[in-house]
């Protein structure tokens, strides 16, 4: 317990440093002040045929995004399909089946990293590097780019452009993701994460006479970007629970810090770019409050004995729910890892979510249902919470008797339309697809358990993909044509169904003039705003998912340890 508290304190300190310095650095990168990497930048623009000085309207920005994503999707898909004839395939794995390739390509494109496969037995090294790791960098950079475009919308006055998609994406990779992931990758490898292209090894254990084929691969550096880019897709099926991915307590801690770093820092970047740090602090406060509550709740739930194990007669569980946990990490660190991972759209795991206590699972599931905004994914967290903020400002602004404005921008019909669209696309998609999945036999077949727990498994899978989280509850067979297709729709909606309205909103806001502040202005850097923002996040999430959640984890909890 003392050790865990210490972990939390160090985590907060590390994140505070990231907030201040990484946040400022991000602002420098996206306002073009950082130039140390321009030697690598310029050739890329020449290759792409992009004029970095030319900014884009929101429509052109969105078209660039869609075109780029389409090409990336096709590229990844082809690599997966053709991996059998492509190099770097020491295990001589065959091509990935069509539906699975499609689902996986969409999954990594959308920063979800939902994995309907076991990496070590499905993917060649080339696929892992070219189709998956590459997207882990690029999808994170695209997420930040869209967030920055929206921030520019707030910061600019009467302008038609919101930046250049190509420049933002390239700079995100070169200046931010590659250098940090490189440094973090060294630590992972130094701590014992494997990093090799030499293929699996055959190991004979003379003690028990067992001969094992141990899969290896380029794992360590993938681990760094997997967390930093809030991707979550690991090399191995066991993800962060595998000692080759997450060998030590230090790498476990580093994972948590990395996956929170950019989403947290972006609130500083936001404040800096709109000219008031307090505005960023207000968003951060809302994030920290929800994150704090969920962490306390979930760690507390996991510190309790597992009711099913207790019902089986093992009442003494002094360390809490150890079912499905790595002994290296224990329930508390695993719960913290789980909350951080589900509230950042990362979705990496270092324990079995399926085996969490009902209320622990509730914590993970509901963390995603709030829309991945606390602090959310790289970029996606910021732009989604800004949509919530627009809705909060609209309702709050009305209540003080003024046409609502956020950062001086009037929130009118168009902004409300785009913000509500962006906020509602995820719950609508998730509920509709969960309804379809539970209504059809092919969907029901996915869950390995019965009753409310089986329902939780399906609901979790759909929620995870709809939020571009990618964590798996487990106990769920997703590699079917049905779930590969449904999942891809889920992930595409959760990504582009929000990004496009966000860019449109950025365009609408950038074109607006600014209303000066006065004592009659609803201050969006005040505690009251934080309260309203929390209200919107919790009430929209709560009201839309309350019935579904009550049929899953709640019923299970109220069933007092019955095993389903």
């Amino acid at each position: 317990m003392v050790h865990f508290v210490l972990t939390l304190v160090v985590l907060i300190a590390v994140l505070a440093i990231a907030w201040r310095f990484l946040g400022a650095y991000l602002a420098a990168v996206y306002t073009g002040r950082a130039t140390w990497c321009s030697f690598a930048e310029r050739p890329i623009y020449r290759l792409l045929g992009v004029d970095p000085e030319r900014e884009q309207t929101w429509q052109r920005y969105a078209v660039s995004l869609v075109v780029f994503s389409g090409v990336a999707l096709l590229g990844s898909y082809l690599v997966l399909r053709l991996q059998g004839v492509l190099p770097l395939n020491p295990q001589h794995l065959g091509g990935v089946p069509a539906a699975l390739s499609w689902n996986t390509a969409v999954s990594f494109l959308t920063n979800t990293n939902w994995q309907n496969y076991a990496g070590e037995t499905t993917m060649s090294y080339l696929s892992q590097i070219l189709a998956l790791q590459m997207q882990q960098f690029v999808s994170a950079a695209v997420g930040i780019a869209v967030a920055i475009a929206l921030v520019r919308g707030f910061a600019r006055r009467g302008e038609t452009t919101i930046g250049n998609f190509w420049v933002d994406t390239v700079r995100g990779c070169l200046y931010v993701l590659l250098p940090i992931a490189f440094l973090a990758g060294i630590i992972f490898v130094a701590q014992g994460a494997v990093q090799t292209l030499a293929g699996p090894v055959l190991v004979h254990n003379p003690l028990n006479g067992v001969t094992q084929l141990i899969p290896r691969g380029p794992v360590g550096f993938m681990e760094a970007i997997k967390q930093l880019g809030t991707n979550g897709g690991g090399f191995f099926n066991a993800n962060g629970a595998h000692p080759f991915e997450n060998p030590t307590a230090l790498t476990n801690f580093l994972s948590i810090a990395l996956l929170l770093a950019i989403p947290v820092a972006l609130t500083y970047t936001f404040g800096r770019m709109v000219g008031s740090l307090r505005q960023g602090v207000a968003l951060l406060a809302a994030m920290v409050i929800i994150f704090g509550i969920w962490t306390s709740f979930t760690t507390f739930a996991e510190a309790q004995p597992n009711p099913a194990v207790a019902a089986a007669g093992l009442r003494q569980q002094p360390t809490g729910n150890m079912e499905g946990k790595e002994v290296r990490f224990g329930p508390l660190n695993s719960a913290l890892y789980g909350v951080a991972s589900t509230q950042t759209s990362t979705g990496s795991v270092d324990s079995s979510n399926d085996s969490f206590n009902p209320m622990g699972g509730f914590g993970l599931l509901t963390g995603m249902m709030l829309g991945e905004v606390t602090p959310g994914g790289t970029g996606s967290g910021l732009y989604t919470i800004l949509l919530d903020a627009v809705v909060a400002v609209f309702i709050g602004g009305l209540m003080i008797g003024r046409t609502p404005e956020y950062l001086g921008k009037k929130i009118q019909a168009r902004e409300v339309k785009l913000a509500s669209l962006g906020v509602l696309v995820m719950p609508v998609t998730v509920l509709v697809l969960a309804g379809v999945a539970t209504a059809l036999p092919v969907g029901r077949a996915g869950a390995f358990n019965a009753g409310p727990h089986g329902f939780s498994e399906i609901l979790y899978a759909i929620t995870s993909q709809g939020n571009n989280n990618g964590s798996a509850f487990g106990g769920f067979g997703g590699n079917t044509v049905f779930y590969n297709v449904v999942g891809s729709i889920d992930m595409l909606m959760g990504r582009f169904g929000i990004m496009i309205p966000v860019l449109a909103l950025a365009g609408a806001l950038a074109a607006k003039q600014v209303v000066p502040n006065s004592a009659g202005t609803f201050r969006t850097d005040s505690p009251m705003f934080v309260v309203l923002l929390l209200g919107v996040i919790l009430i929209v999430g709560g009201l839309t998912f309350f019935p579904a959640v009550s049929l899953g984890p709640l019923v299970e909890q109220l069933s007092h340890g019955r095993f389903f």
Partner: protein, 690 residues
């Protein structure tokens, strides 16, 4: 003047008894309620309902439960159907009540707009009798005492007192004369004295009265920008609850149970924001209506909304900030004279002075020095003010008392052989320096001292401005005074800024400058030269006494012609938005309790464990669902008065207004239904039906 002042001070003429053109019916007039009940049934027309997405969903839901009730009849399904139907009716009723008030007012106006005979002056100067409907723009008509002015126009000749109570509800007649800013007359008003020739400026159907009727009636009411934005949010909230509810059907199937369609519809209706959806248009109509209650005609709902956003108020000094007349505020003796002597002389010099300034000097001298009765003895001769002498006063025998402009009195006294005390110039300059007017008093050659005439700031106005400042509204005083005077009054009144020596051009420039900074500006005006500025301002309130040009340029007309009204206009605008926001918050907050009522009931058979969520301990699943539906319907009725009256707004900082409303409508919105649903459940239980 004397001739004109007689009818003005006489008893109100016929047709000027206080009536209900604009001012008040009670919130719920019996007649209006009756018509509203009829209206709420007529509004069931789907073509009307489709315009309100939230209530349209309720109507469709009602049809679904009706079919269920017909094919699988039960007390429960019929009860739900009836209450869902009532929910729609209540929403229609709210709108009909709001409209009814305007309609009643319009009817009153319409009755007064009867055809009148007009005496048109033909080309040869011969009068002919035509009906008002036949009048064309540019026609000249003659109106004499007792005539109703047939249509809107400008007086080209003459001066008359006019009873405008038909429009303003104000019984005191007003003076209208050709030329200048008092030349506009309105059709339907009545000439009380004298004779005027009017050039018609509006034909039948386009007169001010016609516009007024269609405005109070809300005939071509359009959704305002903010209302549209809110409708979008409400539609979005409605859409999201559809999959929430529909997905429960397969979810329940998966759990091995079933859910009844009737309960699902009930849940849907309870979750979608019906409270605000039902009251939204009533709030908008009532906002316009509240302007009418204050005798302000807003030309569009957009203007009312803009009023809430105003950040800069341009206020005319005279009549808004100051009482309009300069009043004696001090006597400053010079040359060693006693102030009592000065007061005595000042009083005597003003006895015959009937100007407000003169009367104020008499009153001040009496109050301050208790000079009981100063009626002079001996032969007196009043010397009236003339532009030539720039003094007035009186002669009592040989004694000559004068008061007037400093240099004029000084020269007069010196002409009589007097010597001006040295400090006079200093005193005069000091008084002028603080924005007051110095009047020098001399008793023959002796200069006694100076009367300070002050522009008196209305009591309480500084506090009002301070409140507005707290609410983030800047006040700018507009005056024709010189900068020195203006600065002094501005300081005393507590305005944030002032525009001295204002001309229409500088006013216009000021508005543009404020708007360039992103601010919304409101102003009042009455003269033709105000018209461009009125048009430029975001909220331009034209005085009804003003010219036609001014009234057409502004987007509001104040029938009382009271410039202070601008502050109330802002209040109404703010109330409108606050009421919408508050009821939206309330509506959404209500959902929490409804979930706790319905979810355990919905899965009572499948998952009895979920009874743990039945925190209200509702009697049975059926009573729980029905109680939630009834609460949802009744809360609409309960909130109609609030929607019509508007949520109170007192000028204060945004933070405190928000805190208050979040507490009342947010936290209150969460708690109220827990109590309400429980009470209804108890009543339902008592019937032993559920």
């Amino acid at each position: 003047m004397a001739m004109l002042s007689a009818p003005i001070s006489s008893a109100p003429g016929p047709g000027s008894e206080p009536h209900t053109v604009a001012r008040g019916r009670g919130l719920f007039d019996r007649q209006i309620l009756g018509q509203a009940l009829v209206g709420s049934v007529l509004k069931l027309d789907p073509r009307v309902q489709i315009r309100n997405p939230v209530m349209f969903v309720v109507l469709v839901g009602t049809v679904v439960t009706l079919l269920e009730a017909i094919f699988h009849p039960s007390v429960f399904s019929w009860s739900i159907t009836v209450w869902l139907f009532l929910t729609v009716i209540f929403a229609n009723f709210a709108e009909a009540v709001a409209e009814g008030r305007g309609k009643a007012q319009a009817d009153t106006l319409r009755r007064m707009r009867s055809d009148t005979l007009a005496r048109r002056v033909g080309p040869a100067g011969i009068e002919e009798s035509v009906t008002s409907a036949d009048l064309r723009r540019g026609d000249l008509v003659v109106c004499e005492a007792g005539d109703v002015i047939p249509s809107d126009g400008e007086i080209t000749e003459g001066i008359a007192s006019v009873d405008e109570s038909a429009i303003t509800g104000e019984s005191a007649p007003v003076i209208r004369e050709s030329g200048g800013d008092r030349s506009a007359v309105t059709g339907g008003t009545k000439v009380l004295s004298d004779r005027i020739v009017v050039q018609i400026t509006a034909e039948r159907g386009n007169t001010f009265m016609d516009r007024m009727i269609s405005l109070v009636e809300g005939a071509n009411r359009q959704r305002t920008p903010n209302e549209i934005a809110l409708t979008i949010l409400l539609a979005a909230l409605t859409i999201v609850f559809l999959p929430v509810v529909v997905s429960l059907y397969p979810f329940a199937k998966y759990a091995g149970g079933t859910v009844s369609i009737v309960v699902l519809v009930a849940l849907l209706v309870c979750l979608i924001p019906t409270t605000i959806g039902a009251l939204l248009s009533a709030i908008g109509i009532a906002g316009m209506d509240r302007m009418v209650q204050r005798n302000v005609l807003a030309m569009s709902g957009r203007a009312v909304e803009a009023a809430g956003d105003v950040q800069t108020l341009l206020l005319d000094k005279t009549g808004t900030i100051t009482l309009g007349n300069r009043m004696a505020s001090a006597f400053v003796p010079v040359g060693g004279h006693r102030d009592r002597d000065l007061a005595q002389a000042a009083l005597l010099s003003s006895l015959a002075d009937e100007t407000p300034e003169g009367r104020s000097i008499v009153a001040f001298a009496r109050d301050r020095f208790e000079i009981a009765d100063a009626v002079p003895t001996g032969p007196t001769l009043f010397v009236p003010f003339s532009a030539n002498t720039r003094m007035s006063g009186l002669d009592i025998g040989d004694r000559q008392i004068r008061k007037g402009a400093a240099d004029a009195v000084r020269r007069w006294a010196e002409g009589l052989g007097g010597r001006t005390p040295d400090e006079l110039a200093e005193v005069v300059n000091r008084i002028a320096g603080v924005g007051s007017t110095p009047l020098v008093v001399a008793d023959g050659p002796e200069v006694l001292g100076v009367i300070e005439l002050k522009d008196v700031v209305k009591p309480g106005i500084a506090e009002r401005f301070a409140e507005l400042r707290k609410a983030g509204i800047r006040t700018v005083m507009i005056t024709g005074d010189n900068p020195l005077t203006a600065a002094a009054i501005a300081r005393e009144a507590g305005v944030d800024d002032f525009l001295a020596e204002a001309t229409p051009e500088t006013k216009m420039a000021l508005i543009r400058q404020e708007q360039a900074g992103g601010k919304l500006v409101a102003m009042t005006g009455d003269g033709t030269n105000d018209a461009p500025a009125l048009a430029q301002a975001d909220v331009g309130v034209a005085m009804n006494t003003g010219t036609t040009a001014a009234k057409e340029a502004g987007n509001m007309v104040d029938l009382d012609s009271n410039p202070t009204k601008l502050i109330e206009v802002v209040e109404v605008g703010k109330q409108l938005l606050i009421t919408r926001g508050a009821l939206t918050t309330f509506s959404i907050a209500n959902d929490v309790a409804k979930y706790f009522a319905i979810i355990p009931a919905l899965f009572a058979a499948t998952y009895p464990q979920l009874q743990a969520l039945n925190v209200m301990r509702l009697h049975s699943p059926q009573s729980a669902v029905l109680a939630a539906v009834i609460f949802n319907a009744l809360v609409i009725v309960a909130l109609i008065p609030l929607a019509l009256r508007g949520v109170r707004w007192r000028p204060s900082g945004a933070a405190s207004v928000l805190r208050r409303n979040v507490l009342i409508y947010g936290v209150g919105g969460i708690l109220t239904p827990f109590i309400g649903i429980k009470l209804i459940d108890l009543l339902l239980t008592a019937t032993h039906l559920y």
